[in-house]
Symmetry: C2
Subunit: 207 residues, 2 copies
């Protein structure tokens, strides 16, 4: 099986091929396992059984549960998600914030991302993958601020990275740190506050 040799890091083989299908099946099994058992309960045996990919192959290509997790997150980050484009800064930020509440208000959609966040406390490799995942997500979100600048809704030197993080942060903070409930009204408040701060020039220039 040359396309699955150890010389190929996961994802380096042509998209759509057998390796890509295997990787996606493994990713799905990892997500399901995380959602059902959390990171401490995730095993290579579970992923093998669930994905139909032989344990020997998993060990050869990924080596460990940590690498399976990290690769699932890498693959999740390779999706085609784009930030909202509603025609205005306030409504774009509101839509972004609502994506967070929608994800974490529903137990089934919250399970996998919550498990990734929890795993990052136990695995440096998972923490690094989570960092990269969010860096990529937020880099896509910069388009929201760029469009606002183009429309004259935000100063040209607005710190887009800070703006897009500030919208989500109070929601993640409540879910994962202070352990408080979140809802759509709170999401809207977060978005409105950041939009007001942008207009007031509080995010420009970047520190």
């Amino acid at each position: 099986m040359p396309s699955e040799s150890a010389a190929h890091a996961p994802g380096t083989v042509r998209p759509g091929g057998r390796t890509a299908r295997t990787r996606a099946a493994v990713r799905d099994a990892v997500l399901t396992g995380l959602a059902e058992h959390g990171y401490p309960g995730l095993t290579v045996e579970y992923v093998a059984e669930r994905s139909g990919v032989h344990k020997t192959t998993l060990y050869r290509r990924w080596g460990s549960v940590e690498e399976l997790l990290a690769d699932a997150l890498d693959l999740a980050g390779e999706d085609t998600w784009t930030p909202p484009d509603t025609g205005g800064l306030d409504s774009d930020l509101r839509a972004l914030a609502r994506e967070v509440t929608d994800t974490f208000a529903d137990a089934s959609s919250a399970a996998a991302p919550s498990a990734f966040i929890a795993a990052a406390f136990q695995s440096e490799r998972a923490a690094a993958a989570l960092h990269d995942f969010y860096a990529e997500r937020f880099s896509r979100c910069a388009a929201v601020v760029a469009r606002a600048v183009d429309r004259g809704e935000a100063p040209a030197d607005t710190d887009a990275a800070a703006v897009v993080r500030a919208v989500s942060a109070p929601l993640f903070f409540r879910v994962f740190i202070t352990r408080e409930p979140i809802d759509t009204a709170l999401a809207d408040q977060c978005a409105a506050a950041v939009a007001a701060a942008v207009r007031a020039g509080a995010y420009s220039p970047a520190p």
Copy 2:
């Protein structure tokens, strides 16, 4: 040992007495153990050895590592901490944000709170204690907003709870979710953004 009987929940005996001293010694041992080994490595045996309190006493009064952890956090929340009172909203929020960066930029001061946050992912009891700890902290912070209202710096119906969380949230978000560095300049930006949003009325009324 009547003052240590199982009929007394921790902390119900007169302050300054033997029970209070025992509880503080146990709390210190829990914090040290957390900082050194994290929650997964914290054991009743370790706390007994470190605190000099017999293991039998620990099991009788606390029952488990989970309860030891939760009580340490409860006790940490019974301190005399008050929020900054610098004479202005901007500088109060800046001082609050800088407390977060100061705590988490230094490995030794970050260790215990980071371990509490990590433990909350593994223990419902720890999560509940963490919730209560932050609820109490942020309820004290409401004074910052009340003083700003008195000085005419903020609308009377400003959502103080949201304001004080919004200042810290982007810092915690970077440390514990996106795994990015934080610094004083970022803390100042967070504070300035929230102050600007308060002035613009984005936090009033509460949703």
